[in-house]
């Protein structure tokens, strides 16, 4: 647990909340990340495969069935006919190879930490919201708020995506094979977003940090989003990352546009929010 820093505003009596646990800033440790498992995680065998037909099953029953199969040690699960139902595959905090053979509705695969998920169809709004780690690959299109507030992992849609892609992104990588709608990268804080097609208006509006790469046209940049300089490291990373998912930049990675935060909007003076109020 990280210790609370000495902060002037505490002495001033402006607030006294004691932030603890994973909400605190914790520096990345590769060793810890690789070995981390949740206390109640299932010990699954990736060589053991199971599948079931979800056509006539309720949402809760489908999610419980996935959990039961993980509990039985299956590490490779295929769900047939998900039928665009909402909230499927949510809250999986386990290593797992999970395939949805069909399309998902809203809030699919949200709040996950660890699984590799493959969706052969389309996903609705808010896919993989708050994803912590793992990979999610969508073969067709995705709705709006794709990857909202993700913190880690790779989230890939090979088709077109709606508006507000990666809103409040806090880490990880979002890759869009086609175009994306307005306000993508809105209030982005960390991580990378790669859009191989066109990007809608107000791209990166009010972004704090992070990087957006665009292969097509940009309808317009949002407040405080500015063009950055592509580096060799960027190009190398893009080539490797896109190759992992069988994707290519239409005009080559070197010709992609890099968007970063201008950092003129956010107050970078390290003041606490309550102190900023006093200043304002």
């Amino acid at each position: 647990m990280a210790e609370l820093k000495h902060i002037d505003s505490h002495d001033m009596g402006l607030h006294d909340e004691q932030l603890v646990g994973r909400t605190q800033e914790v520096f990345f440790s590769a060793e810890e990340g690789e070995s981390f498992t949740y206390p109640d995680a299932f010990d699954v065998d990736f060589d053991r495969a199971a599948e079931f037909d979800a056509a006539d099953m309720a949402i809760n029953d489908i999610n419980l069935k996935i959990r039961q199969l993980m509990g039985d040690g299956y590490g490779d699960i295929t769900v047939r006919n998900p039928g665009a139902k909402h909230s499927l595959g949510v809250g999986i905090l386990n290593r797992l190879n999970l395939t949805f053979d069909g399309s998902l509705g809203y809030f699919g695969i949200g709040l996950i930490d660890g699984p590799n998920v493959h969706v052969t169809g389309r996903v609705g709004w808010s896919c993989a919201e708050n994803m912590m780690a793992g990979t999610v690959v969508i073969e067709k299109n995705a709705g709006s708020t794709f990857g909202a507030a993700i913190r880690g992992g790779d989230l890939v849609c090979k088709g077109d995506v709606g508006s507000r892609t990666g809103i409040d992104q806090k880490g990880g990588t979002i890759i869009v094979g086609g175009r994306t709608g307005a306000f993508s990268g809105f209030m982005m804080q960390r991580g990378r977003m790669v859009i191989l097609g066109d990007a809608g208006a107000n791209l990166g509006d009010s972004m704090y940090d992070g990087t957006i790469f665009v292969g097509g046209k940009i309808a317009g940049l949002g407040v405080d989003a500015v063009e950055g300089e592509m580096t060799e490291l960027d190009a190398h990373w893009l080539e490797k990352k896109l190759a992992m998912y069988g994707l290519e930049a239409p005009n080559g990675v070197a010709n992609m546009t890099k968007i970063v935060a201008g950092k003129q909007l956010w107050n970078y003076d390290n003041l606490e929010p309550t102190e900023k109020k006093l200043v304002l």
Binding site: H86, G102, G105, N141, G143, S144, G181, A201
Partner: protein, 311 residues
């Protein structure tokens, strides 16, 4: 929240009553209070269809005289229609308080509508050559069964499942809205218009009347007003993106067209499936899946997008 849906067969008719019932039933969780259908049948030359009611569903449980009052109101509707020269070809009592007439009329449709709605408790749900608008309390299956919509043949349809947030749970506040007094124009909407009162006052100054305080009705009247000025449907819809303020996705239908529009923030959902001979759109893909259980390609229309399809 509310759910909206629409479908159009291009070049052929189908059982749109059953298709839209299935789509709206799949959206029940977005709005269980009331369900509405705007169905576009095959028009007959020089013949109109009017759907009207003379009481709300809840009125039928109030008072000792309500059944007599309903009969009196219906008789007064008949008398006034006859007085202004309407020739009724056929009539059907669909529920205790709702009626459907086929009629001939070559007079002023606004005068007809105003004269009928002047009767206490009477409200015209729709007048058109193709449009038949049905709405009532309950889910899609309930309303569809009550009004015998299964087997309704036509080319296109729009519908709505309503979660009442800012007005009563009654038929008057249910969608779709007919664009009084313009034939065959109807609208369903999911969202909120923030310049509702300003826009409404402007339309009222030009002589339009509103039956409800629902912002969705304003879209119907706004579009009909623009089309009356000579704009086509698509032009009117594109103009609405700039002139209507707020967050909205709406679906509009005319005698031979279906259209959808999404505001520039794209804050309200819409999923679209399009093939050479059929288009279906809905707030959620589950609605489209209810008539296409096999795997299909769908997508979200983008911010500020306007689409129009011909039947």
């Amino acid at each position: 929240m509310c759910g909206i849906a629409g479908l159009i067969h291009r070049g052929d008719s189908s059982d749109i009553g059953s298709e839209l019932t299935a789509m709206l039933q799949a959206l029940k969780h977005r709005g269980p209070d009331s369900t509405g259908f705007a169905l576009y049948g095959e028009p007959v030359v020089n013949q109109y269809v009017i759907r009207f009611k003379v009481a709300e569903q809840e009125d039928m449980r109030k008072g000792f005289r309500i059944h007599e009052e309903v009969k009196d109101r219906k008789s007064e509707v008949d008398r006034r229609l006859h007085e202004i020269g309407v020739k009724i070809i056929s009539e059907e009592q669909v529920t205790e308080y709702a009626y459907r007439y086929n009629f001939n009329y070559d007079g002023n449709m606004k005068r007809l509508a105003d004269y009928v709605e002047d009767i206490e408790g009477a409200e015209i749900l729709s007048i058109g050559t193709a449009l038949e608008l049905i709405k009532d309390l309950g889910d899609a299956n309930t309303v569809s069964e009550q009004y015998r919509l299964q087997g309704f043949s036509g080319t296109h349809a729009i519908g709505h499942t309503r979660m009442a947030t800012e007005s009563d749970v009654d038929i008057r506040s249910a969608h779709p809205y007919w664009a009084y007094p313009f034939n065959d124009v109807s609208v369903v909407h999911n969202g909120q218009l923030t310049n509702y009162w300003n826009s409404r006052r402007e339309l009222e100054r030009r002589g339009h009347r509103f039956m409800s305080n629902c912002d969705s009705e304003l879209i119907a009247v706004y579009l009909a007003d623009r089309m009356e000025k000579g704009e086509d449907l698509e032009e009117s819809m594109r103009r609405s993106i700039n002139e209507l303020d707020g967050v909205f996705t709406y679906v509009v239908a005319t005698g031979d067209k279906l259209g959808m529009a999404k505001d520039v923030m794209a804050a309200k959902p819409m999923v679209l499936y399009e093939s050479d001979d059929f288009v279906a759109l809905a707030s959620e893909e589950v609605a489209i899946r209810s008539i296409f259980p096999h795997e299909i390609d769908t997508y979200d229309p983008y911010e500020g997008e306007v689409r129009v399809w011909q039947s």
